[in-house]
């Protein structure tokens, strides 16, 4: 299963990445998630599994267990650090139960929320261990692939090493980029080409751009794909959010519509993307439109 993922990409196939679990859970259940999302997921298994199934039905080739908040520094403010193994394992198992045969279950490693010395107080060793300890419950739960997104490209590199030290499964490294006066860069100031080159050097199997601020306007996402391609030769993932939200008639509306996002898909593919999707604010409608666009390109 995991082997075949990289082979499919190598043969030129384009796959649809999973949607933003927090947005989708709240949209589909019509409720605010109280407290820590993973604790909510474990306490509401039926609702979580129904959202997983809905995403796959909409065309996603990947399933997320929603574990991006399960790193120790993220669990600490909620007093959940000592429940880490259990929260990750149960989330992955719940997702595994409803992952269709042809879809991939992603072990989503948590963002750390902290910074390496000298900018912050963390050592490389501490960051490494905080990623390493998330891996066993994910392997036990049966993930097919690992994925890590971080604001600091160096922390992604550390996570990739932790994965490599414990598993042969493929790993997707994802930067967050922000469009500004000096182009498309991470929060740390690294441009997309350099950040992608760094991840190739660090051993990522797939290199991507998620979230951040590359969708106002949505054309920035295409620029990001092109810059990533200049920096590396690996399969590329592009997963921007649906733009800046606006309050219209008391409803929060994201300006990048499903149709607009879908019309970018052929351009992303032409520029080198093999995995496409939407991040914060994208809905099942966006996923359906993206999936249709991918099928249209076949």
């Amino acid at each position: 299963m995991a082997r075949d993922f990289l082979e499919r990409l190598a043969s030129g196939e384009v796959l649809v990445f999973h949607g933003p679990i927090h947005t989708l859970l709240e949209q589909e259940t019509g409720r605010n998630l109280e407290g820590h999302m993973s604790e909510w997921i474990v306490n509401h298994p039926d609702e979580f599994q129904s959202v997983v199934k809905a995403q796959c039905a909409a065309g996603c080739d990947f399933v997320t267990p929603g574990t991006q908040g399960c790193g120790r520094y993220r669990l600490r403010p909620f007093g959940l650090e000592d429940k880490q193994y259990e929260l990750i394992l149960k989330s992955v198992q719940l997702a595994r139960e409803v992952t269709p045969e042809n879809c991939y279950l992603v072990g989503v490693l948590s963002t750390t929320g902290v910074f390496l010395e000298p900018i912050g107080d963390m050592t490389v060793d501490q960051i490494y261990r905080s990623f390493e300890e998330q891996i066993p419950p994910m392997l036990e739960g049966g993930v097919d692939i690992f994925s890590i997104a971080e604001n600091d490209t160096e922390q992604i590199a550390i996570a990739i090493k932790a994965v490599r030290d414990h598993s042969d499964l493929p790993v997707i490294g994802r930067n967050l980029f922000y469009a500004g006066k000096r182009g498309i860069r991470t929060l740390m100031g690294v441009d997309a080409e350099t950040a992608s080159a760094r991840l190739q050097e660090a051993g990522a199997d797939v290199i991507g751009a998620v979230c951040g601020d590359i969708s106002r306007p949505i054309e920035y996402s295409l620029i990001t794909v092109k810059e990533m391609r200049r920096g590396c030769e690996k399969p590329l993932l592009i997963r921007p959010d649906a733009g800046l939200a606006q309050l219209i008639d008391d409803k929060i509306v994201q300006p990048v519509s499903p149709q607009e996002m879908a019309s970018e898909v052929p351009k992303w593919i032409a520029a080198g993307a093999s995995l496409v999707g939407g991040c914060c604010g994208t809905s099942l409608e966006h996923i359906k439109a993206i999936s249709a666009a991918v099928k249209g390109e076949k």
């Binding site: 947005t23 709240e26 000298p118 900018i119 601020d213 309050l247 929060i252 914060c280």
Partner: protein, 212 residues
């Protein structure tokens, strides 16, 4: 270059040890602690905030400059406390709204506001309406709210309404921010201000305090 300019320069370069050394040197020269704070540390940090706003520097530079500022402040604080004279530009309370755990942007805002001479209390992440209102009742002049998810930005309006109900509208100002927040959203929920980044937050806070 005089000592105060040197302090500002070293702060911009993120050189904590140098800033500490120069701060002491300035005091030894007879420059008042207030003057060193305003025209050395705050002057330097304000420039950093502006450069950040213009994308000339990024998060690492802001955080290194903040450490340099802290190093200088450690030298000045005992003296400032004793004289009790130095007034802050205003009391700001920051927080990421209920259900949201993103903090980087908020932390940078705190750094730049402190760097500009504001008294900043950072409540942290996942802050309820009640906690924001309590902070306002306890003397906050500006409430700064951050949200990064469409699902959590909806918690901003209840805070603004609660402040109104508590009779604090106009007395306590609100500024909102976060990647998905816009000026249009701020206007539609009745926030007093919106800022795209930490540097802009300083400008907006000064404007709301009548200091621009």
């Amino acid at each position: 270059m005089d000592t105060l300019q040197a302090i500002a320069e070293s702060l911009k370069e993120g050189q904590a040890a140098k800033v500490k050394e120069l701060t002491q040197a300035a005091l030894d020269e007879g420059i008042s602690a207030d003057n060193v704070l305003d025209n050395g540390l705050i002057a330097g940090m304000t420039v950093v905030g502006k450069l950040f706003k213009e994308n000339e520097v990024f998060l690492p530079e802001v955080m290194m400059s903040a450490k340099a500022m802290d190093a200088g402040m450690a030298v000045l604080e005992p003296i400032l406390l004793k004289s009790g004279k130095h007034e802050s530009k205003g009391k700001v309370v920051l927080g990421t709204v209920q259900g949201d755990v993103h903090s980087i942007g908020k932390n940078l805002v705190g750094i730049c506001l402190r760097g500009a001479g504001f008294d900043v209390t950072d409540l942290g992440i996942n802050i309820t309406t009640e906690k924001f209102v309590e902070a306002a009742k306890n003397g906050a002049q500006i409430i700064g709210m951050s949200a990064l998810l469409t699902t959590t930005m909806q918690h901003m309006e209840p805070v603004i309404k609660a402040l109104e109900q508590a009779g604090l509208k106009g007395k306590v100002k609100t500024i909102i921010g976060g990647c998905i927040v816009t000026q249009q959203y701020a206007d539609s929920i009745g926030a007093d201000g919106y800022a795209t980044d930490a540097g802009s937050a300083v400008d907006k806070a000064k404007e709301l305090m009548g200091l621009a």
